[in-house]
């Protein structure tokens, strides 16, 4: 069947991003060396246009329809995730302007790679076929591998990229293996067909178990769940900070998008079989991430472990396999976008000349002379720790609600204990900033862009905490999966 005009219209945002990325790659040669900011500006423009189209599509009849013989779906669920991706991309690019100048990163392909990755994420969110999802996943990952190694003078960056490529390739292999088994058992790679086949067959065969394990490995790797997390700290630490910010928010959310869709749509009939497995992974992830974060001395590494911990909470939202569970994860991703992007923007803001801004010690006594910056970091830290009135609290609250609604009180109790542990390393940063005397003068960026991203982060982290009703209703209304 030839793709019709309807199919084209439905993937218009993806097309816009992909074409723009290709064009910008060529335009880059026309720019003078070192004058690549313009590429970034165009990348932002591209993402904005795609966002506008996505929002417009929400109002049309195409909503909820499938394209390309069911390979692709345009629904509220994917649109919500795409909004997260657009925002993540735009905000990361904005903080990149300053960072690339400070670090002397020259290549304009930096921004185009982000666009390619964005395109991959969008395909993932909209994929309704395991193959589409896989293609999206690779399209998202490959540019990020390259971006991780962009600081070619820094050994950590190269090492991180190397690790990421090898482990990533490995996990993709396992994922593909799982997908192939599912195809073997059900005769299809399309999620509804898989669900139907599982529903008819019923029961757990060892082969299905193997397939589930394969999928959990593959997806778990991308969301950085224990025990597939080992790459996270090194990659997060080594990558250029805006890239770390980008991948801790965008690709992670994308991985959750497919995790949720595949497990609650395709694998719902074998719910009992994956539920325990995911629960174990989620609990291990929360505790491992939050406990190991305590001993970190590098803030990027600490945020990496914190991001592992947060993946654990979000995975809990998968367990109820209800619409509320799904909505709670999406909400959590929105919240995480603002607070984590904000925290990384602060890290970028602290990157100046000889000051790496990456050591937690660099924040000692920051509040003395940089009140606004410290206050911002305080908001992000308390939000990550989940203290009201910040958004982080409402995010966790929503997930707990979804859990308890399905009677999973024990898991909610375990999760709150984990978040009490987590509070320690977040408040330690606040402690250093406010309660210690500075040992040297702090240098900070003089960049409007980075400041803007911090402001956006604060607004997001407060507004979603004080007035969460609107977004929750929106997500709840449009993103039913089950």
């Amino acid at each position: 069947m030839m793709p019709g005009i309807k199919d084209i219209l439905m993937i218009l945002p993806e097309i816009v991003v992909a074409v723009a990325a290709c064009v910008l790659l060529m335009v880059e040669f026309l720019c003078r060396k070192g004058e690549r900011t313009i590429i970034g500006v165009f990348a932002i423009l591209t993402a904005s246009v795609a966002a506008a189209i996505s929002l417009y599509l929400m109002t049309t009849d195409y909503m909820g329809g499938v394209a390309f013989s069911g390979m692709f779906i345009l629904d509220g669920y994917s649109t919500m995730f795409k909004l997260i991706f657009y925002l993540a991309t735009i905000l990361s690019i904005v903080i990149s302007f300053y960072y690339t100048r400070e670090e002397g990163i020259k290549g304009g392909e930096y921004y185009t790679l982000m666009l390619f990755s964005l395109c991959g994420m969008m395909v993932m969110a909209s994929g309704r076929d395991l193959l589409t999802i896989y293609i999206g996943l690779e399209l998202m990952s490959l540019p990020v591998y390259v971006l991780t190694g962009f600081l070619d003078r820094d050994k950590r960056s190269v090492e991180g990229a190397m690790k990421y490529v090898i482990l990533g390739g490995f996990s993709s292999g396992i994922l593909l293996y799982g997908i192939s088994i599912i195809y073997g058992v059900t005769g299809s790679t399309e999620l509804t067909a898989i669900a139907r086949a599982f529903g008819e067959a019923g029961g757990l065969t060892p082969v299905v178990g193997l397939a589930i394990v394969g999928l959990i490995c593959g997806f778990g790797f991308k969301v950085a769940a224990v025990p597939f997390h080992a790459w996270t700290p090194d990659v997060y630490e080594g990558a250029p900070t805006p890239v770390t910010a980008f991948m801790s928010v965008g690709p992670k959310a994308a991985a959750f998008a497919i995790f949720l869709r595949v497990f609650t749509e395709g694998l719902l009939p074998v719910y009992e079989h994956w539920q325990v497995l995911v629960a174990v992974v989620a609990v291990a992830t929360m505790f491992y991430g939050n406990i190991v974060a305590i001993v970190q001395t590098n803030i990027k590494r600490m945020l990496a472990y914190s991001s592992i911990g947060h993946a654990g909470y979000a995975l809990l939202g998968l367990l109820p396999a209800t619409n509320d569970g799904v909505a709670s994860v999406i909400y959590y991703m929105f919240v995480y976008l603002f607070m984590n992007m904000g925290a990384f923007a602060v890290v970028v803001f602290m990157r100046r000349a000889s000051q790496s801004g990456e050591l937690i010690e660099d924040y000692r006594g920051l509040a003395k002379n940089h009140r606004a910056l410290s206050l911002a970091m305080l908001v992000f830290m308390f939000s990550l720790a989940g203290i009201p009135p910040t958004a982080g609290f409402v995010g966790k609250f929503y997930i707990f609600m979804a859990l308890v609604d399905k009677g999973m009180v024990e898991l909610a109790l375990i999760a709150v204990v984990a978040s009490a542990v987590a509070a320690y390393f977040y408040i330690r940063v606040v402690l250093l900033m406010y309660m210690k005397e500075p040992v040297r003068t702090h240098l900070t960026a003089e960049s409007f862009g980075v400041g803007l991203v911090i402001a956006v982060g604060i607004i997001g982290a407060i507004v979603l905490g004080v007035y969460p009703g609107y977004l929750i209703d929106l997500i709840q209304r449009v993103s039913a999966l089950v």
Partner: protein
């Protein structure tokens, strides 16, 4: 909307958010003098509004008054829902009173980062009043948790030598308790059919096992806040290291939130479990009374002594509450109020003398009666109030609790009396070591007696020490109906219907 309309229909919101408004405005100020006066003005205005609240309060009903209710998060049926009954209005008032005194107590004591400190105080005020006014469990929890942030900073930034350890301990301890409450709150929400509405939750019946489970979850949160033995270990650290205003807030208001939680949540919502667990809780209270008293007796540090006396006094309160009779609960509530007044006043006294001498060790004092006679007079009265001398507020509270205990089980009296005797011992001994020792001021430098600002702060406390001491009826009247209603909720709501309660008056 006109001002009078605002005043008539949104009084609670104004009281809650006025300090926050002041805090936001402070962000843009530079002059420290202006900042201090500005904060004081907002706190005093807030206090005056709480006074108006008490005068407008109708004490002939147990119903919630000054109710405000607006949809907030409709998805979960969460409302912005405020209201006060006889129990909470008393503590709103106490918070209002303590607020401006804290500013006076920090006037010269806080020298660095004045602006941040005042912002923290104001935010704290908003959160504390919010806790007492919230009638939506979610809203309550939000206010309850917000308090952690400014308090963490107040202890950690402006505290003493060991402040960081204490701040972190305070934060984690309280957080650990309250997140357990969060889970309990969500469980309750679903069992009650999807509501966080506190009055509605009180009317529902829950099976006993659920009640017991929730009681334990809530108990940990509240017992840490009170703090009850064996959850009290954060308190001496936090109290001792906190700046004077921080100690006053902790002793004056924060500790009351634990017992307020029992009154607002555990008792009416989980009556069977509350009755079931009453005995163990009373045993813990007795341990707290005596153990806390003896710990206080052994302290060399004046602030630590008062901190441990708090453990002992709050033991009286929890014991009174868990007796579940009118005298016990009213005594407990009154004692909560009294403790808020006297212990705050004592911490203020410690703060004043510390500011002058930079030491809190009792062994370094001993000249107060000679060198600072007015100070010694105030300290004497507050010490007497703390040990429950007739004519002061402490006497009335303890007496009511004793009456309640007598009705319930006479043996309790033995322990209570031991507690009171130990209380008298440590307070009087402390006073003796401060006022009448042999020691003289080191280096022979002049130590100034209390100035006008300090007198104003202490007289404010003194008024209530004597008012409650001589005419407690004014305060008991406020809580009377609410307590009667509470008891009917706990002890067989069916037997004692609302009509019967009304008839009883």
């Amino acid at each position: 909307m006109s001002w009078t309309e605002l005043y008539n229909h949104h009084l609670l919101s104004i009281i809650i958010f006025l300090p926050l408004l002041g805090a936001v405005a402070l962000l843009f100020m530079k002059n420290e003098r202006l900042i201090r006066w500005w904060t004081l003005a907002f706190m005093v205005a807030d206090f005056m509004l709480t006074t108006c609240l008490v005068f407008k309060f109708d004490s002939t009903t147990h119903r919630m008054q000054f109710v405000e209710r607006y949809g907030w998060i409709e998805r979960f049926n969460i409302d912005y829902y405020l209201g006060v009954d006889g129990i909470s209005v008393l503590f709103v008032f106490l918070t209002g009173l303590v607020g401006w005194i804290c500013v006076l107590a920090s006037w010269t004591a806080i020298e660095k980062r004045v602006k941040e400190f005042m912002i923290a105080l104001l935010v704290m005020q908003t959160a504390m009043i919010g806790v007492f006014c919230a009638l939506d469990f979610f809203l309550f929890y939000v206010f309850w948790e917000i308090m952690l942030i400014p308090m963490y900073l107040i202890i950690g930034v402006w505290g003493g030598a060991n402040r960081i350890y204490s701040a972190v301990k305070f934060f984690l301890y309280t957080l650990a308790g309250s997140i357990l409450m969060l889970v309990g709150m969500i469980v309750l929400y679903f069992k009650a059919g999807g509501s966080f509405d506190i009055p509605y939750l009180m009317e529902q019946k829950y099976e006993f096992t659920l009640q017991a489970f929730l009681f334990i979850l809530f108990f940990v949160a509240f017992a840490i806040k009170v703090p009850m033995f064996p959850f009290h270990t954060w308190l001496p650290d936090a109290h001792v290291e906190a700046p004077t205003a921080g100690s006053i807030i902790l002793a004056g208001v924060l500790l009351k939130m634990g017992t307020y939680g029992f009154l607002r949540f555990s008792f009416p919502m989980l009556p069977d479990a509350s009755l079931f667990f009453a005995k163990p809780v009373i045993v813990l209270s007795i341990i707290a009374i005596i153990y806390g008293g003896f710990l206080a007796l052994a302290q060399e540090d004046m602030k630590k002594l008062i901190a441990y006396s708090s453990v002992s006094h709050m033991g009286f309160v929890t014991l009174g509450l868990f007796l579940f009779n009118k005298n016990g609960i009213e005594g407990g509530i009154l004692q909560m109020f009294n403790h808020g007044i006297t212990t705050s006043a004592l911490f203020l006294c410690v703060g004043l003398i510390y500011e002058r001498t930079r030491t809190r060790l009792l062994g370094h004092y001993g000249w107060a009666a000679k060198l600072v006679p007015w100070y010694a007079v105030f300290l004497f009265i507050f010490s007497l109030a703390s040990l429950g001398f007739p004519g002061t507020n402490g006497f009335i509270g303890e007496f009511l609790i004793l009456l309640g205990a007598y009705e319930e089980y006479k043996l309790y009296l033995v322990f209570l009396i031991i507690g009171i005797i130990v209380g008298a011992a440590y307070m009087l001994w402390m006073y003796q070591r401060v006022a009448f020792g042999k020691h003289h001021a080191e280096g022979g430098h002049e130590i100034k007696d209390v100035n006008l600002r300090e007198v104003v702060a202490m007289v404010a406390f003194l008024v209530f020490v004597l008012w409650v001491g001589f005419h407690p009826v004014d305060f008991l009247n406020i809580v009377d109906d609410s307590v009667a209603h509470l008891i009917s909720q706990v002890k067989g709501g069916e037997l004692l219907t609302e009509a019967a309660v009304e008839a009883a008056h």
